[in-house]
């Protein structure tokens, strides 16, 4: 990488090893970056569904979702715009729990996560299974704020955070990959922060 004449960067004692390359710690700040108007969703009418290549397409209401065994993520999140937040806690339900009920067909290889706003993002099925993904409705012990995707968002913290669809409405299981919203607008299909997969072509 070319050295920029005169650039020293922030005074830093030692870089936190939890930060992927090119990221910085946002500390108490939590930026909001959605491209659509922030919706107001009512938990009384909220639903989440798993559809597509599954034996048992299922829709859950808010109460039904909350009756499932709970699961917690404690760790870091990374945004493609270079901020990271370390040591967060999200509570909700594991996507594994939901998929056990919906039963993916053997032909399913990818998912398209879709939101109540029309937002979409694509992921390999392998990136939302085996303890890697949640539907989350609490952050750091409080209900997930509207600006950050409340009442519930998808959480896939090992990938850049645009994959963690805010105001998530469901997952559609597919036998092929197709680009979601940001992926169609120049961002990477997979988005691994440790490989700096930010933009198409990375």
């Amino acid at each position: 990488m070319p050295i920029t004449r005169g650039f020293r960067g922030r005074g830093r004692a030692e870089r936190d090893p939890r930060l992927p390359p090119g990221q910085y710690d946002a500390h108490d700040d939590w930026p909001v970056l959605n491209a659509e108007v922030t919706p107001r969703l009512d938990t009384a009418t909220w639903t989440f569904e798993i559809e597509g290549l599954v034996s048992n397409p299922t829709t859950w209401t808010w109460d039904e979702m909350h009756a499932l065994p709970p699961s917690t993520y404690e760790g870091d999140i990374h945004c493609v715009t270079t901020w990271s937040k370390l040591g967060m806690r999200f509570d909700g339900v594991s996507v594994d729990t939901l998929l056990e009920i919906a039963q993916p067909l053997p032909t399913a290889t990818h998912v398209m996560a879709f939101s109540h706003t029309g937002y979409t993002t694509n992921l390999p099925l392998a990136d939302v299974t085996d303890g890697k993904a949640w539907v989350a409705w609490e952050v750091d012990g409080q209900p997930l704020p509207r600006d950050h995707g409340g009442p519930a968002r998808l959480l896939v913290p090992h990938l850049y955070f645009w994959k963690s669809a805010k105001w998530v409405a469901g997952l559609r299981l597919l036998d092929h990959n197709e680009p979601g919203f940001w992926e169609q607008n120049g961002y990477h299909d997979r988005g691994d922060p440790w490989l700096e997969q930010r933009y198409q072509g990375d």
């Binding site: 990488m1 070319p2 920029t4 960067g9 090119g22 909001v32 970056l33 108007v37």
Partner: protein, 225 residues
């Protein structure tokens, strides 16, 4: 890599950098570039900045950057960078918050959020499509208004939130529904750009005025984005 061709002061806190990239690419109005700075020890910092200049054949583009006191990249650009320097840029990026002068648009910008909207206004004026565009821009005071001399025109409404010129017709104050009503062209796509608080307020006003949410596109600026 891109070479700095020119640096212009827009306001006490904002400068415009004219850049000539090694490999010119014609951007679309509303797109941005990522600027990456690398220190000698390999530490790097990247930030996105919207393109202020309209698409053209010059092979150059302009970024307007606000200097944030605790900004890692903006302070370097303002305090260190000089004409002739080279910086690493990546882009143009973006496919959603873009306007191609082919449909009516209402542009609503707060503070530095005017930057990508200025590319759109300039494109409209350059191509004789001014009647497709209305711009409503909010700034704290005349000193904080970017492109002050250029932005005025029949397409533009300026809203001052803290200090207004003495001959102002509109009273000082935040953006309101009345500021947007007359600017709402039929079937316009709305482009909102500014801080998160501004974007939320402007978005809510548009929804109240009956704009379908699918026709509202938002770009949120902030210290960390």
């Amino acid at each position: 890599m891109a070479t700095v061709i020119d640096i212009r002061t827009e306001t006490p806190h904002a400068k415009t950098y004219r850049l000539r990239p090694e490999r010119p690419a014609r951007h679309r109005a509303g797109q941005h570039y990522v600027v990456r700075l690398t220190a000698e020890d390999g530490y790097s910092a990247s930030r996105s900045y919207s393109v202020a200049s309209p698409p053209d054949d010059s092979g150059e583009f302009e970024l307007t950057v606000e200097r944030l006191d605790d900004g890692e990249v903006s302070t370097f650009l303002h305090d260190e960078l000089v004409v002739g320097d080279e910086i690493e840029v990546r882009g143009p990026i973006g496919g959603f918050f873009v306007w191609d002068a082919d449909a009516p648009a209402l542009l609503i910008g707060g503070g530095s959020g005017i930057v990508p909207l200025m590319a759109m206004l300039r494109l409209a004026r350059n191509t004789g499509k001014s009647d497709l565009v209305r711009l409503v821009v909010s700034a704290r005071s005349p000193d904080d208004l970017y492109y002050a001399d250029e932005v005025v025109g029949p397409e533009t409404t300026i809203v001052f939130t803290r200090t207004a010129p003495p001959d102002s017709v509109r009273a000082v104050g935040r953006l309101q529904a009345d500021d947007l009503k007359h600017a709402l062209l039929p079937d316009a796509t709305v482009y909102i750009c500014g801080s998160d608080a501004f974007a939320n307020a402007a978005g809510d006003l548009c929804v109240q005025l009956g704009v379908p949410t699918e026709r509202i596109r938002v770009e949120r600026f902030g210290p960390s984005a």
